[in-house]
Symmetry: C2
Subunit: 327 residues, 2 copies
């Protein structure tokens, strides 16, 4: 069986790390892939007037899964609609520290389960009168319940014990109140243990004692900010993969952006992108292959060549070759 994978490198270092992920997937002999490349991002906007061409949407919609690299200025116009195109409701963001790497907190292993469709991302905004703008933050019981089911399932399947529900329901009483109630209700109905945490206090605790957290279920913006915070704990965005998961389809992308400061130099860290490809393997039920890729990345992070963001002087290609060697 051949799996059709849409490949959207995008801008900046997306052009450099996406081929690394494809190379690693091609090195997995037990799985057959057909890669279909598609364009999106700043360069495409300039060339065609559209950051996310209809053809790219169709390719992503029809593929078995999508690999996305990075977008620059147009990131929000590319990644937010793409998350919709693949119908993803859950954004899964594992943040873990690795032996052999300098980390602010070397004992971190947390998976953020970020609601991926609503909150302040609803996009309902206007300048209601001169100098006064409003945004409508939307939280529904159904989306909250869906992310909760996903999160509690994820924790169970991956043997994670500590589940935390992040919220700011003391201030956003109706909206985060509904999120908190709906997610808690799912936990209760399963007899699951979980904690709840105000997102501000949680930011502090994550910095000081990340080892106390496993799975954090959060509204959209909280997940955005807290997962980047956790990237800081483990050594930077070059290490964090993510999966945007829908009922039928899914899109895999590093948490980092297009990094215009180093783009074109061939020194971007491919780890986050390759780890995103490992999540793609999991998603297609090639768990063993996913684990093989993760183990290879870990082993290179521990004792192989490193890119400059991790204090080394190796390039993207050398690191990718080392990962492929370890497979």
């Amino acid at each position: 069986m051949t799996h059709e994978i849409a490949v959207i490198p995008g801008d900046g270092i997306g052009q450099e790390v996406t081929p690394a992920a494809v190379e690693v997937l091609e090195a997995i002999d037990s799985v057959d892939f057909e890669f279909v490349e598609a364009d999106a991002g700043d360069a495409v906007l300039e060339a065609t007037g559209e950051a996310l061409p209809q053809e790219t949407r169709s390719i992503a919609a029809d593929a078995d899964a999508t690999l996305f690299g990075a977008a620059g200025e147009t990131a929000a116009d590319v990644i937010l609609p793409l998350r919709e195109v693949v119908g993803s409701f859950a954004n899964v963001r594992p943040a873990r520290s690795y032996p052999g790497l300098d980390a602010v907190q070397p004992d971190t292993d947390i998976v953020f389960i970020r609601e991926n469709t609503e909150g302040v991302y609803s996009g309902i905004e206007s300048e209601v009168t001169e100098g006064v703008t409003t945004l409508t933050r939307v939280i529904t019981e159904s989306a909250s319940r869906e992310i909760a089911e996903f999160g509690f399932d994820y924790a169970k399947q991956n043997d994670y014990d500590d589940i935390t529900i992040a919220h700011k329901a003391n201030v956003m009483r109706e909206t985060d109140g509904m999120f908190l109630d709906a997610v808690s209700a799912v936990g209760d109905s399963r007899g699951a243990d979980y904690d709840t945490a105000l997102m501000d206090a949680l930011a502090m605790h994550l910095v000081m004692t990340p080892e106390q957290y496993d799975v954090i279920i959060c509204p959209n913006l909280a997940g955005d900010v807290l997962s980047d915070l956790a990237a800081g704990l483990v050594g930077g965005l070059g290490l964090l993969p993510s999966a945007n998961v829908g009922e039928e389809n899914a899109l895999f992308e590093p948490v980092h952006g297009s990094a215009p400061d180093i783009a074109g130099e061939g020194i971007a860290n491919p780890s986050a992108m390759v780890l995103s490809a490992a999540m793609l393997l999991d998603h297609l039920d090639y768990d063993e292959e996913g684990d093989r890729v993760r183990t290879a990345v870990e082993s290179v992070l521990e004792s192989g060549p490193k890119t400059p963001d991790l204090g080394g002087d190796a390039g993207t290609e050398a690191v990718t070759a080392a990962i492929v060697d370890e497979l």
Copy 2:
């Protein structure tokens, strides 16, 4: 001249740390204070049906400044209206590390200038139909400009060079777009240097390289979360004071809450509360006295008795006495 100070200890450790601040202020011979105590919080709600009695509002409104300890479950019903009562538009939250204390990032010295009146704190929420809730996030040009004027002034007066404007205008285009434009325009009109940063990326950079930041001007919720994050960098909420500053009036409070887990044991760290009293002194133009209090707190943090949150075994009273001794 006697300054009338409203004193609202509130709940939990608020009852323990507020007297510490009063004791320190009383030890400053060069300034005359009259303290007027008032009630607010969970216990008052239980006793009277109101978490923030009208009398307390009046006392705070009429005082030259207010000291607030902490509130528990009712925190949002107490501190949000109190910030309004004193007309505060700016929440000033310095986060710095101290020699002699364990800190995740020992080289941190950042002041968050948090917009204190709008954003998701506007309180306009409802369940529009069963299972669907909305919150209206409001950002105005006038409030954004006001916090910007305050922030750029603050940076200048305190010789801080690196000013960063936090936002998420790539997603909240109208609302944070207005915030970003208005704050930038104030900076530009003064010929000030400043950077802008997406709040998610900023969370990561604050964790990894806090030494690169001085003053961060932010919308309400961003300030709430990022300042707690910074508390984690420097050793916990027991160290962060804050000022809620209005045109005429102001309220000073530690960033921490009522800490029900240790309340009543006499071991709460009074530093954040005493440092809040130092900010009160600054506010009343007793800058030298404010500095004296800060120096005393620093010296006790460096080599005096420590409360358990900082790894010591001293109680609140012993630490307070040591601070008074150092004055």
